[in-house]
Subunit: 208 residues, 2 copies
C-alpha cells in the first residue's frame, strides 16, 4: 500500500465528521472507513485505533495555532501591551476556528465517559498557559507587572479573552465575535488585564 | 393516573442519566421509560417530549442556584467587595454542582445538532449576567467602580471566577477547586476584578 498525505487527510476529515455527528464514544472505525471508501486495511494502515485518530485531529488543530502564539512570546519586543495584543489575536484565531470549536464539543461530550489521552482533552491549553505564564513572570520580575501568581494571571488573561463569547460558541446559541469585533474584544480584555496587573503604586509619603 | 412529585422526580433522574450516557440526540423517550419502569402513558403524562424533559432538567438545575445569586445582589449592603464575594460563593456552588457540569456537557455535545430551546442552552447565564450587570452599573454610577461597559464587566467577573478550572471540569481531565480552595480562588479572582475596575485615579495636579 502506498501511503499519501492526501489519503491521510481524507481519513482525518472523515473522522472529524464522524466524531462531530456521533460523538467519540459512538464513532466507529468501520463507519469512518465507509465515509472514505477506503478498505479497512488501508484505514488501519494509517491509524491503528480510534484514539489515534482523535489524537491526530487534536495535533492538527493545535499545532499551527499554538506555534503561532509561542512565536509571539518568543520574539516579544519591549512593549508588553503590544506583545499581549498580538498574542491575543493569535489566541482568538485559534480558539474561534471551526476545528477547535468542534473538537471542544466532542471532548466535552466524551468527558467522564472516555479514557482519552489527557493530551487530547487539553487542546493545547497547558502549553499555552505555561508559555504565557513564563512571559508574564519575566514581566513581573522586571517590574512591568505587579508580582503574583504568574500561572494564575495567564489563566486570567485567557479567561478574559473568552469572557463574552465562550459559552455562546461552545453551546452554539450565538456566534463568536466577527472579524470587525475581534479587535474590540481584545482591547476590552487587555485593558482590564493591564489594570488588574499594573505594578502596585508606591505608598505615598505624606510630605506636607 | 395520579401524579406525584416522586414519580416526576424519578422520571427526571432517569432522563438525566439517559442524556449523560447517550447525549441528547440519541436519548429516547422509550429508554427513559425503561429506566423508570413506568408505562409510556405515565411518562408522557408528565412530559410530552424529550425537549420538555431537558427543559425541566435545566429549570431544576438553575432555579435554586440562580435565585440564590439574585438574592445576594438584591440584598446587597454598602460593601462592594463583600457583596461580590458572597455572589462569587453562590456562583461557584452552582457552576461546580454535578448537575450543572453534567448538563453543560450534554448541551455542548448537542450544539450545532439540536434545535433546542435557547433557554436550555444558556443554563441561566443570561439572567446571571443581566442581574450582575445591573448591580455593577449602579456601583459605576455611584463612583465605587470606574465607568464602562457594565455587561462586559459582569461577563469578565464570571470568566475570572472560572479561569482556573472551567476547562478541567468541562472536559473532565481534573477536578474543580475543593472546598478548601474555593475561597482562595474567589479571592484571587475578586482581587483582580477590583483592581481592573477600581475608579480611575484623579489626574495629579502638579502643586510644586
Amino acid at each position: 500500500m502506498k501511503r499519501t498525505p492526501e489519503k491521510r487527510q481524507a481519513i482525518l476529515d472523515a473522522a472529524a465528521e464522524e466524531f462531530r455527528d456521533k460523538g467519540y464514544e459512538r464513532a466507529s472505525m468501520s463507519d469512518i472507513g465507509l465515509r472514505t471508501g477506503f478498505s479497512k486495511t488501508t484505514l488501519y494502515g494509517y491509524f491503528g485505533a480510534k484514539e489515534a485518530l482523535l489524537a491526530a485531529l487534536v495535533d492538527e488543530a493545535t499545532e499551527n495555532g499554538v506555534a503561532a502564539m509561542l512565536e509571539v512570546l518568543a520574539g516579544a519586543g519591549p512593549h508588553l501591551a503590544v506583545t499581549l495584543e498580538r498574542f491575543a489575536g493569535r489566541y482568538l484565531s485559534y480558539a474561534l476556528s471551526p476545528s477547535v470549536c468542534s473538537l471542544r464539543r466532542v471532548l466535552a461530550a466524551g468527558a467522564g465517559r472516555s479514557e482519552l489521552d489527557l493530551r487530547c482533552r487539553d487542546l493545547g491549553a497547558a502549553r499555552i498557559d505555561a508559555a504565557l505564564a513564563g512571559y508574564l513572570r519575566a514581566q513581573m520580575e522586571a517590574g512591568a507587572l505587579r508580582g503574583g501568581d504568574a500561572r494564575g494571571s495567564a489563566q486570567q488573561f485567557r479567561a478574559l479573552l473568552e469572557a463574552s463569547w465562550f459559552d455562546r460558541v461552545l453551546f452554539d446559541y450565538g456566534s463568536g465575535p466577527g472579524p470587525g469585533q475581534v479587535e474590540e474584544e481584545i482591547e476590552f480584555a487587555l485593558a482590564a488585564f493591564l489594570r488588574a496587573w499594573a505594578p502596585a503604586l508606591p505608598v505615598a509619603t505624606d510630605a506636607s
